[in-house]
Amino acid sequence: METSPPFRFLLLSCLLSPLSTFASLDLNQNGQSDVWENAFQATGLAAEEDSDGDGMTNLQESIAGTDPFDPRSRLLPAIGGQSGNEFSLFSTEAMEKEYTLWSSPDLSPDSWTIQEQWIGRGDPMEIRLSLPDSSPVFVRLEVMDVDSDGDGLSDWEEHQLGYDPDTANSMRLPTHDYTRAADSVGSVNQVSISAVDSTTHEGWPDPAVFAIRRTGGVDALSIHLSVTGTASIGSDFQTIQPVVEIPFGSNTVWVEIVPLEDDLTESDETVTLTLLEGTHYTASEQDAASITIIDDSGSISAKEAARFLTQATFGPTPELIQQVQTLGIEGWIDDQFNQPIGLHQPILEAIDWTAEGGGPYAFHKMRAWWEQAMNAPDPLRQRMGFALSEIMVISDSGAPERTPRGMLNYYDMLLANSFGNYRELIEDVTFHPCMGIYLSHQGNQPPDLELGRFPDENYAREIMQLFSIGLWMLAPDGTLITDDQNQAIPTYDNSDITNLARVFTGMSWGAGNTDVRWEFFWPDVPDGYNYDDFYVSPMKMWNGPFSESFQHPSGQWDTREVFYHDQGSKTVLDVDLPANDPSAPEDDYAYRDVGRALDTLFNHQNTGPFISKLLIQRLVTSNPSPEFVGRVASAFADNGSGVRGDMQAVVKAILLDPEARSYSVSEDPHYGMQKEPYLRFVSIARAFDAASESGIYEVYWLNDQYGMTPLSSPSVFNFFSPNYQPSGPIKDAGLVAPEFQITNEVTGILVPNHFFSSIWYQISWNGTHPNREVFFDFSEEIALIDDTDALLEHLDITLLHGQMSNELRELLYFTLTRPDVTNQSDTERTKLAIYLTVSSPEFAIMY
C-alpha cells in the first residue's frame, strides 16, 4: 500500500492537549478521563507508555478517545491508496470529538489554514486529498474535546455514558450530569436481580425475563449466576450462560428464558437465578429471582390469549383472557358465533329524547356504539362489524347523517351478517336505505333517452370497486394478474357500470306498497308517521308496469306504461342477465335481476381474495403473504361443506391462520399493522374499564383528534386506503400501511394528548349529569405502584399482550424509579406508567 508520493507529503498528528480538568471527569487526577479509563478498562495506565505499540501514548489515546489496547484504534492516520493525485488517509474517529484538518505549503507557523473541521460520528475516518501537481502540501489533524452543554463532562464522555451532550441534566433528571457521572464512577457496583417477565409458556415461547441491574459503576461488569429450580437447563429451556455482562455505560442486562417444548405433560416448572460472588461488584439483598415455565398441557398462555384478543376484539380484558384460556381460541370463536348480537339501534331507541333536550342527533350514535364496544356479549362480532363498516362504508359526511337511527340500523345489519354469508351481507347492504341515500341508488329509474335520464352510477361502481371485486383482476391468493404486456387487468369497464346501474333500478322505501306506482315516491303512511322510520327498514322493489302521467312538450298531459325496474337484458362482468320477457314475465323479476347481479359479484374470482385481504388488513396485518390470503380466500370459496361466502369460515381462517397465530411471525420486521388510532383509545378504555356511574358513554366529537371516528369517514373510500404507503422504509420495502394515512404532524400530537387528558382527567364531561362522566379505573394498577416490576408486568399483559420489549420495560423502570418520580403520589406515578405505555410506538402497532 505504501507508495512514494511524487512530492513531499507530511502528516502530523498533533493532539491538542487540553488541561486535564477541561470537560473531563478525572477523580483520580491522572490526566486521563475516568470515563475513558472505565470504557477501556484502562484505569491507571502510565501516561507516556504506549500499551498497544501503535505509536500513540496512553495519554494521547485517552485524549483521542481511542482504545489503548488496540493498535488499530489510533488517531495517527495511515496513508491509504493513491490514484493519480488523490490520496486517502485513514484514521479512527471517536464520537463527539472535534477534529480539525490543517494544511500548510511550507510548515511556517503563519501558513497553517483550516481545511475542514467536523465532529466525530464514530465512523471509520477517510480523508480524501486531491493534491496540486507542483507544490508540496503538509497536513495535520487535530482532535479536541467539546463540552457543548458546559456541564464539565466532554461530549465524548457523555456519549459513552449515554448522556445527552446538549444538556447538563440529561433525561431531564434533577441531578447534574457531572454529579451523576462522578457518583457512578466513584461508587462500588451493587447488583440485584428481578424476574421482570415472570412466566413463559411451552406453547408460546415469549421468553420469561430476568433483569440484572446495577447501581454505581459504569464499567463493563461480568456477573456470575447459578441456575437452580425445577426446570432442567437445555431440555426445559434453552441453555443460558452462567456469566453475563453488563456493558460499559449500561445498568442492566437481561437473561431471557426461552422454553423448550418437551411433549411431556408435567407440572409448571421454575427457573431460579442467583447472583454469585464476583469481582467489581457486590450482590444486593435481592440476589435471587424465579420465573415459571408453564406446561402446555393445560390452557394456552395468557399472553397468547391477549394477543389473539387484540386482533379479534376491541381489546383484551382480564375476563376475556380468562375465557379464551378456558375455551381455547377456536372454542372461544365458536362460542362467539353463538352469542346474542350486541345491537346499537335499540340503545338509541330507549333514550327519552324529551328528557335529553332533543335528538337523536348524529353524535348520539357514539353513545350506543361505546356501550356495545365496552359491554357487548359478542366482542368478536363487534370487531368484525366495525371492520365491515370500513369496507362497506356509509358516513355522517353524507346524506345518512340526518338519520342516526338508520345508520345504527345499518351498523347492526353489518353485525348480524358478520357471522352469516357474504352473499346475504352484500344483499342487505344493497337494500339498506342508508346505502340507498349514501350512494344514491334509491329511486333510480331505468334510462330514458327521451328525458335524458340515466340511473345514478355511484352504487354500481362502488359495489364493484370497494365492496366485492376491486379494480384489478386477482389470482386466488390476492396477487395481481397481469397480461402479456405485464399490465394489470381491470376487472370492469364503463359498460359494466352502466349495465349494473340499470340493475339497481326500482328500489325505494321499505314502507311503501310496491303495487302502487306512486308509493315508489310517496308511501301512503298513516298520519303522524315518523318519516325517519323510512331508514330502518330495507328498501323494496317496484317493478311495474305502472300507468304514469307525463307532460308532452306541448304541455299536454298524457299517460303511458312504465316500469321502474329496467326490463332489458344487462351484461355485467361477462354474465348475461336476461331481460324480462313481456309475453312471459318472470315472477319477482326485479328482485331476481338484482339477485343475479349480486350472484355474479359473489361468484367472481376476485371476491374471495379481495374481501379476505381487506379483512386480514383490518384485523391482523397490513401485508399478509399471498399464502395467507390464499388460505382465507379458499375458506371463502368453500367452508368445507361446499358453501361459498361463509363468514364464519372466513373469520376462522383469518384468526386461526399460522400467520395470525404463530409466535414467530411477530419477529418479522415486516409484519404487523398500526392499530387504528380510535380503536387504540377504545382498547385503553376496555383495559381500564372506563365507565360512568350511570353506565352512559357520552364520548363524542373526537374526529379532529383521531382523524377518524366510527361511521364518519370523509368518503366511501374510508379514512385510509388499503394501499397507502407512507414514504420511508415501509414504502421502500414495497409494503403498505393503511392507517399511516391518518398519522401526521397534527394527529401525531392530538392522539397522545387525548390519551393524556383522558388518563389524567377524565374521558367525558357533563356539567348537568355528573353521573355520566366517564373515567378510567386505575385502582388495580395503583395497588401495584410500589412494585414497579409487577406493575410493568401487569401493563405488559393488559396492553401489550406480553410483548413489551426489554428496552421499553427498562425505560419505564428507569422512569418510574427516578428520584423526581418516586417522590410523587401513587396516582401520579401510576398514570405516568400507563400514559407512557399507551403512547409508546410499541402499543400503536399490533405485531
Binding site: S397, G436, S440, W518, W522, P523, S549, S712, P714
Partner: protein, 170 residues
Amino acid sequence: MKHSLWIAVAIVALIAGVWFYDTRHTAPPAPEPTRRLKPPPPSFYDPSEPDPRNPTSPLARTLNRPDHSAQRDLEIVYTLLFQTRQFVKDLPSRPLGTNAEFTAVLTGDNSLQLAAIPPNHPAVNESGELTDRWGTPFLFHPVSSSETTLRSAGPDQQLFTDDDLVYPEE
C-alpha cells in the same frame, strides 16, 4: 386527512345554525300592537280535489292541517324536500335559493316532473311560494345541496321574532 369537506359543512352548520336559530332571542320586540295581521288563508289541502295526473305525497296533503302542530308542518316540508332529492338526482345542479325556487321543485318543476306537493295546493300562494298556516312564506335556508333548513314566521307573520318555528330544531 381528507375530512375538510366535513369540517366545512360542520363549520357552516355551526355558523349558519347558531346564527339562524339564535337570532330568535336577539330579535327586536314583537311588532307594534296596532299592526293588523293578515287573516290566514285556508292553506291545507282538501282531499276532495285529488290530482288525477300525478299523485303527490300523502304527507303533502296534511301540510298546514290544523289537527297537528305547526312544527309538524316544517317537518313535512323538510321531509318532502329530502325525499325529492332522493329521486331527482340532478337537483344539485339546479340553483335553489328562494322559496319560489324550492316550491317550483316541490310542485313538479324538475327533471322527473315529480311533484311532492300538488301545484294547486292552497299553501302555494300566487307568487308560487309555499306558505305556512298563517299565510307567510316559509324561509328556505340552503345549507348545502343536500340539506335545507326551514323557518316559519309563526303567528305574528314576521320572520326572526320569538314565535318563529325552525326545523330541524337544535
